[in-house]
């Protein structure tokens, strides 16, 4: 039974990959654009006049690219390409391949998002737990309104404000990019510090917003958990306050947070794309922005596909780990 449930969950992942690929294949076809003709007309305009034989040229190129075959054959060969990780060449940066460019910017985004998601999740969860705890210091109650307010603001808007205050006015932190211009990428301490300095502002604008969300939901869960009979019983037994807080309340209240994390990853990423664009941070978001500006369809499709698949993989892993964390939920019962 357990094997079956895991296989089912992996099946969902395969469906996500297939849907993402099909989306990439069919949406541009639906728009009725004719990339070969557009490109050839562009070239012809560069040459100054439109030649007679442009229709024949379009035909020849369509045969060469396999565009004359029936749609289902094109679709199958496209799926084959995707499975092999072949996303074609970048149109704007030929002869670089799409995969080449994506793999260059992935580490930046994974680093930024990994750090910020982890930090905001941990800080927010602990804060939320303390906010619900009656014996927490009084001043903590004052944290709620600003956390709420920050939570309602998009990442990149807070980024703009922080950028103006910390990078433009007082110039504590760099305003733009992933590392200083002229710095040679290497594994030296100076370069690593340079990267951290550049990542601080983008990270801060994500963390300050995200912490509020985790704190809010954790506080709600804590309030519910603290009303449970076993917590009252633990208090009656005279257990230490800290034990009740960490082992009885926190551990039980944290589980829905992890489910929420799996669901929130997509939203966090959508927001982070804009943060990268605002700060010119050399990750996936900025690459996507460039691709949109340069009308580089293959690159846009490659990025969207890669991101959807990696997020699908992340949620798959979280879902598979979840029953290990919470013995109440096992695949056997579902």
């Amino acid at each position: 039974m357990q094997m079956l449930a895991i296989l089912k969950r992996c099946g969902v992942f395969v469906v996500i990959v297939w849907l993402a690929a099909s989306l990439n294949f069919f949406l541009p076809k639906l728009s009725g654009q004719d990339p070969v003709r557009t490109k050839l007309l562009q070239q012809a305009q560069l040459g100054g006049y439109v030649q007679q034989g442009i229709d024949e040229m379009v035909k020849i190129y369509e045969v060469r690219f396999g565009l004359d075959r029936p749609l289902w054959q094109q679709y199958l060969s496209y799926l084959g390409d995707v499975v092999r990780g072949d996303f074609n060449f970048s149109i704007a940066n030929y002869p670089r391949t799409v995969w080449d460019m994506i793999s260059e910017s992935i580490p930046w985004t994974v680093g930024l998002l990994g750090m910020t998601t982890l930090l905001s999740f941990v800080i927010g969860t602990i804060l939320g737990a303390l906010l619900a705890w009656p014996r927490a210091p009084r001043w903590m109650a004052w944290l709620m309104p600003p956390l709420w307010a920050l939570h309602a603001i998009p990442f990149f808007l807070l980024g703009l404000i922080l950028m103006y205050l910390l990078a433009f006015q007082v110039q504590w932190l760099p305003i733009f990019g992933g590392y200083s211009m002229g710095a040679v990428p290497s594994l030296s301490i100076a370069f690593v510090l340079d990267i951290i300095r550049h990542a601080t502002l983008p990270a801060l604008s994500i963390i300050l917003v995200a912490v509020g969300g985790w704190a809010l939901s954790m506080r709600g869960m804590m309030v519910t958990t603290m009303g449970e009979d076993y917590v009252v019983f633990a208090e009656g037994k005279g257990l230490k306050s800290l034990t009740i807080f960490s082992r009885y309340c926190l551990r039980n209240a944290i589980l829905p947070q992890i489910t929420a994390l799996a669901l929130a990853l997509g939203q966090i990423l959508s927001g982070a794309v804009l943060v990268e664009v605002i700060f010119g941070y050399p990750g996936i978001g900025t690459l996507l922005f460039q691709a949109i500006r340069e009308n580089d369809h293959f690159l846009i499709q490659g990025i969207v596909f890669t991101v959807i698949v990696s997020l699908g993989l992340a949620t798959l892993i979280l879902d598979l780990v979840y029953p290990l964390l919470d013995p109440r939920i096992s695949y056997r019962r579902t």
């Binding site: 309030v223 959508s270 949109i292």
Partner: protein, 282 residues
């Protein structure tokens, strides 16, 4: 009337949220009397003037009066949000009722699509759609693009609510007295869900505005419309931050923050109204 006032005193979030939104509406309405909205077009006024008595919000590099841009653009952004939000909640409600009331294979399919769709980063799918129909999106088309994903979250949350409602005693009695499925949905379930639907709607409007601003900042919005997101696109395009033209980004930023704060507090307030059990913990 006094009952309403007494309730509002307890539900501060609703008061704060609606006052913020009313303030924005007042700004738009009064603004239309004070400013010539035509100045929101490029080349209308002297470019790059910092705020002054003549141009309280300053002017941008292409010669737009930023006060006029805000007065003309805020309603456009809200329009995108409301069209997409209302469509999303309407579609979501129908799907949720079909799924949760009738269960079976319809439920499996609808829940499956909503669950998978929600784990996918929405902005990226919207980008693919917007790139596909490139070439001058209008404000209303923009709203439709955003609406194409706006029904996922309402479907999921409303379905969960209906699932718990349909087991209540009064639904059971209605079913036993021979009421038809659609009648039960409209007459018994709907009225009880209304406050909850309102909270979902405000939430959907807020996400739709966020998504539309995201697309616009990336340059996929209605290029010639003065929406808040397009203003931020031009801010980024002209590197206004590094050049020190602070007034250019300040005005749209403040207004967007007010919009989101207003919508957020209204959602919290409506949630409290719809779900009195929250009151104990709040």
């Amino acid at each position: 009337m006094t009952g309403l006032l007494r309730y509002l005193r307890r539900n501060l979030s609703l008061v704060v949220g609606s006052s913020l939104l009313l303030f924005l509406v007042a700004f738009i309405v009064i603004g239309h009397f004070i400013v010539d909205v035509e100045d929101a077009r490029a080349l209308s006024v002297r470019p790059l003037q910092p705020p002054s008595w003549r141009y309280p919000f300053g002017t941008d590099r292409q010669g737009r009066d930023l006060l006029a841009v805000m007065v003309a653009g805020t309603p456009l952004t809200l329009q995108i949000g409301f069209i997409a939000g209302i469509l999303g909640v309407a579609i979501g409600t129908v799907l949720a009722f079909v799924a949760a009331y009738y269960r079976g294979w319809a439920d499996t399919i609808i829940r499956g699509i909503a669950d998978i769709g929600l784990t996918v980063p929405g902005l990226l799918v919207l980008i693919i759609i917007a790139v596909g129909i490139r070439g001058g999106l209008s404000v209303n088309q923009m709203a439709l693009v955003v609406a194409s994903l706006a029904w996922l979250n309402p479907t999921r949350t409303i379905r969960a609510q209906v699932l718990s409602l349909r087991e209540r005693g009064y639904v059971e009695i209605a079913r036993m007295s021979g009421m038809s499925g659609p009648a039960i949905i409209v007459l018994e379930l709907m009225p009880n869900l209304l406050p909850y639907l309102a909270a979902t709607l405000v939430n959907a409007v807020s996400s739709a505005i966020l998504a539309s601003i995201g697309l616009e900042v990336l340059g996929l919005g209605p290029i010639d419309a003065p929406t808040l997101g397009m203003t931020l696109y031009w801010v980024n395009f002209n590197a206004a931050m590094i050049n020190g033209w602070w007034w250019w980004w300040l005005a749209p930023t403040v207004i967007i923050v007010l919009v989101f704060l207003g919508l957020f507090f209204v959602t919290v307030g409506l949630d409290e109204y719809a779900n009195p059990r929250l009151r104990r913990s709040a």
